[in-house]
């Protein structure tokens, strides 16, 4: 229970599906219906509220700790969704906003409107379908790792005690033999994640604050987390 609230704008199938999936990651999940337009369907799992596009969001900031919340904009009307995103961004500069777009064209507009992350529905669905057709085994394995409740997990772990690596470069470490996990990527000092055997990673020594993207079984990952957390090596 890291973040406090998930605020989902759009009482539709997309919004409710997001609510279902993020409900165990937040203290409270609230689904907002666009007043007078979206059908007001409630169930017992989440809180439901109405909102208006002309709002100045004062009520929102008084009710929720916005700096610790996440917002999903999933209105079915693209223009209204963009308007909502820009309106929320102007009110809350630092909040994380994830917006749904119908396609890449709308995704660009939503990014310009200030969305932190945009999910273009058509392209995402098409990518998943083609992956299923072209690489069925990989798609199945990744699906299980990412989304199913399998014991195999993909996690990001922060390095807290880099001294454990004794000045070694990431590519020199035999992760699977030493720790039973596979390190796929590494994010060095706030840069974008790089593949573990890429040239950039090869020349970066492991430092505190680096992030590792690791695949492994839950138990091994816990051990690895402790190892990176310091005090074990």
């Amino acid at each position: 229970m890291g973040l406090r609230s998930a605020l989902i704008f759009g009482n539709n199938e997309y919004g409710l599906e997001i609510a279902r999936n993020v409900t165990n990651k937040y203290k409270s999940v609230t689904v907002f219906s666009l007043s007078g337009i979206e059908e007001y369907v409630e169930d017992n799992h989440y809180k439901f509220e109405e909102f208006d596009l002309s709002e100045n969001w004062d009520t929102l900031s008084s009710k929720y700790a916005m700096e610790e919340s996440i917002i999903f904009c999933s209105l079915s009307d693209e223009a209204k969704n963009i308007f909502l995103t820009i309106s929320l961004r102007s009110a809350f500069k630092d909040v994380s906003i994830i917006a749904l777009a119908k396609n890449n064209e709308d995704a660009n507009k939503l990014k310009m409107a200030g969305a932190s992350k945009v999910i273009p529905i058509v392209e995402t669905t098409a990518s998943i379908i083609t992956d299923m057709l072209k690489k069925p085994i990989i798609t199945d394995v990744l699906h299980k790792i990412l989304y199913d409740d399998s014991k195999l997990k993909l996690v990001q772990i922060e390095v807290k005690d880099a001294s454990c690596f004794g000045g070694k470069y990431p590519a020199e470490i035999e992760w699977s033999r030493d720790h039973g996990v596979l390190v796929i990527s590494m994010m060095h000092k706030g840069k974008s994640p790089e593949f573990i055997y890429s040239s950039k990673t090869k020349h970066n020594l492991v430092e505190n604050g680096d992030l590792f993207i690791v695949v492994g079984y839950e138990a091994d990952l816990e051990e690895f987390k402790k190892f990176l957390g310091g005090g074990v090596c």
Binding site: L3, A6, E13, Y14, E17, I18, R20, N21, V22, K25, I70, F72, I98, L100, K102, K117, I119, I121, V122, T124, T125, A126, S127, I128, I129, T130, D131, M132, L133, K134, K135, I137, I138, D140, V141, L142, K144, L146, Y147, L154, V155, Q156, S176, G180, V181, L182, I184, S185, M187, S192, P193, F195, I196, Y197, S198, L211, I213, V215, G216, Y217
Partner: protein
């Protein structure tokens, strides 16, 4: 007599049930008549080469004397091949045994005597129908040079050129298009014939007795009339009298009408049949694909899927009952047909063997009702083909399952799962999705362990993937159908297993090459 009839009927039944005979008959039918038969094109090319050789020899002989061997080849070998072809075509044109069996069953049913005369007449009629058909006549005349001693018959070698039409599909398309306007062409022909006849007679009457006129005979009058009506007007034969010139003016106007009418007939025939021609071309192209994806419905998601599959050089055919969407698919470079994906007739026309040629059917209409209907249609044709379908409303999931869909694609679920992963671990999410992005250099790939690779690379330790900077995520074992993550070095590799590797695509390629090199070294 009865004994003879019994013998004939028994023999007919024997032929009809003989596997060997029917197999041979089917083989020759496919070779000569079935455009979808893969060896027919080789046969056609062979025959066309023979025709070209034969005609080349004829042209050469006009002013020179050909070598005896060439003459022999042209007169006997080529003619003999054409004769065999002619007899084979005559054989497969109709089934004699079927006529006899049919008559026998008919007589049995009605308790009548077997009518041998009727059978002979029927067989003769069927065969004669074939013999007098234009194509068979050309084939027959093309054999004539066999009797090359009769010099007149040598001209029949030109019929061999006409035989070319038999082997060129475009000419068949051309004639079939024109055949749709048979009535109009007949009307035009009648009109032209009357104009030619009347004008020939008139010009003959006006000009024949004039010593300055070049029109002296009725033949010359007909020639003048045809040259004038066709608007060619050579000018070698012209009217000199005032009356004759008046007739010329009338014929010129009639000629313009005939030409305009003819041109419009050709244009309208082709315009009307253009879609059919394109359609049959698409079906022909699709039938050449070894493995094809059928996309039913071409809306936004289908369009993206098709684009991605096309980039991976996969074969796709789009079926949609909306002409605008079909046009869009064609513009996107796809094979597309304006067929209803929910109709069995569409797949019959497509003429695809689902088990052999169809990889997967994708029901991608953004409408659950249509997808259920399409899935059921396909299941009614084939039980085994893999069907994937979009689901738009979760309440309809069970209907898609009941209609026989193997994989349901629910975009809202995808969005929900992605949102969950993103909010939990944004960096891990970005990293893993970067691996799946088409433009990324880092790829996640499946590598099949072939029988030869498994002979040289026995265990995971033998792979040496680290040397190629490739991460081995795990192995998908064929025997158990399970995925084994991060396998230990002693894990055995078996034929049919898949390695799941992550790395720069160039290094993955090198790694794959190293596996095949090991094969060669062993070899």
């Amino acid at each position: 007599m009865n004994f003879f009839i019994r013998l004939l009927v028994d023999f007919a039944y024997f032929l009809d049930t003989s596997v060997w005979y029917q197999k041979k008959r089917r083989f020759f039918y496919n070779l000569l008549e079935n455009d979808d038969y893969k060896y027919k094109k080789y046969f056609d090319v062979f025959m066309m080469i023979l025709i070209f050789i034969s005609v080349s020899i004829l042209i050469y002989e006009v002013k020179r004397t050909a070598h005896d061997a060439l003459k022999f080849f042209n007169a006997y070998i080529v003619s003999l091949i054409f004769l065999i072809e002619y007899l084979l075509r005559l054989w497969i044109s109709s089934s004699v045994s079927k006529v006899i069996i049919h008559q026998d069953e008919y007589s049995d049913l009605l308790g009548q005597k077997f009518d041998l005369l009727f059978v002979i007449k029927r067989i003769a009629k069927d065969k004669l129908e074939y013999i007098v058909s234009p194509k068979a006549l050309i084939d027959f005349f093309a054999i004539m040079p066999f009797f090359h001693e009769l010099r007149l018959l040598r001209i029949f070698i030109l019929f061999r050129v006409f035989k070319l039409f038999r082997y060129t599909k475009s000419f068949q398309t051309f004639t079939s298009v024109l055949a749709t306007k048979k009535f109009e062409f007949l009307t035009l022909g009648m009109f032209a014939a009357i104009v030619i006849f009347v004008s020939s007679v008139l010009i003959y009457v006006m000009e024949a007795n004039n010593p300055n006129s070049s029109i002296d005979t009725l033949y010359e009058a007909v020639y003048w009339s045809i040259v004038t009506i066709s608007t060619v007007g050579y000018g070698d034969v012209t009217a000199v009298t005032q009356e004759g010139q008046f007739v010329s003016v009338v014929v010129i106007f009639a000629g313009i009408a005939v030409i305009a009418f003819t041109t419009s007939l050709f244009v309208s025939a082709f315009t009307e049949k253009l879609e059919d021609i394109k359609e049959s071309k698409t079906i022909q192209d699709v039938s050449k694909f070894k493995r094809v994806y059928i996309i039913c419905g071409y809306e936004s998601i289908a369009r993206e899927v098709a684009k991605k599959l096309l980039r991976s050089k996969m074969h796709i055919v789009v079926l949609d009952d909306d002409a605008t969407r079909v046009e869009l698919a064609k513009k996107d470079g796809l094979e597309a047909l304006n067929y209803n994906p929910g109709s069995v007739e569409s797949y019959k026309k497509l003429n695809l063997d689902f088990d052999k040629h169809v990889q997967t059917v994708l029901c991608l209409r953004e409408n659950d009702v249509q997808n259920v209907y399409t899935a059921l249609t396909i299941r009614s044709i084939n039980d085994n083909v893999k069907i994937m379908s979009l689901l738009m409303n979760h309440a309809n999931k069970s209907k898609l399952v009941y209609s026989g869909v193997n994989e349901i694609l629910y975009d809202k679920e995808f969005v929900g799962l992605i949102a969950r992963e993103y909010v939990g671990q944004p960096v891990a999410f970005e990293a893993i999705h970067a691996l799946r992005a088409e433009e990324s250099n880092i790829k996640i790939e499946e590598i099949l362990i072939t029988e030869r690779v498994s002979q040289t690379t026995v265990t995971v330790g033998d792979l040496e993937n680290i040397k190629f900077r490739v991460v081995l995520l795990g192995i998908h074992k064929k025997s158990s159908g399970r995925f084994y993550f991060n396998p230990i070095d002693s894990t055995l590799l078996e034929t049919g297993d898949f390695l799941l590797v992550i790395g720069n695509y160039m290094f993955i390629r090198e790694f794959m090459k190293s596996l095949s090199k090991k094969e060669k070294m062993k070899g």
